[in-house]
Amino acid sequence: MAAPQPFTESEIRLLCALLRHKVKFMVVGLSAATLQGAPVVTQDVDLWFEKLGDPIIARALQEVGAAYVPPSHLNPPMLAGPGAELFDIVLRMDGLGTFADEARNCIRIPLGRHRLKVLRLDRILASKRAANRPKDQLAIPVLEDALAVTQASRARQKRAQRTRRASQK
């Protein structure tokens, strides 16, 4: 039996529609941190769009019966419709470069035939440090520890690769 996915079918349809239309967006926040191994819990998936007003976003969402709802007096901008409840729109990322700068160094997670851009763990930490809200202050030490572990794991993998290559010569 295949392991259950984090996304429902309608959530996957929504993400794939955005990816198919080449909408420039990436997963940020704690959901991006969990994708990279940080042991934090989250209730939603934050999406950072390069240009929220881009008509291509509306076209992609329309294809799956969803819509972009611009901000109003009481509500932040949001996605509405099937599969949209899980996703939150992030308007600005404190402490980071432009979307294009961060996208160049992001990681990519396979999602069906597409690859989902995810903000790198060290950059998530930089944004949390810059925002420094009470909820960020709780997450920062866990993200710091997770970053130390992922960097150590990467160094370990590189050492193992070097050893394998040396033994093949």
């Binding site: 996915q5 969990t34 191994g37 899980l86 995810v118 520890d145 572990v149 150590a152």
Partner: protein, 71 residues
């Protein structure tokens, strides 16, 4: 007792080996990062054994459960 071609004893021995390897890796990380929290280190190492989408699934499941407990 046989289960899928292995015995419970085999699987318990496998689990113990995995736990020993995990402890050794936690210790190694803590030597390099003495201020890191051992629980965070252990949980991260465990999560890194899972595919990224499975890590997110667990996080969302626990996040939702925590919300339900608060209600």
């Amino acid at each position: 007792m046989k289960r899928h071609g292995t015995t419970h004893q085999d699987s318990a021995a496998h689990a113990r080996r995995w736990a020993r390897r995990l402890s050794a890796r936690v210790e190694k990380v803590l030597v390099a990062h003495p201020h890191a929290d051992p629980d965070n280190v252990r949980h991260t190492l465990i999560l890194l054994e899972q595919p990224p989408l499975e890590r997110l699934r667990r996080s969302l499941t626990r996040g939702r459960a925590a919300t339900l407990h608060r209600k």
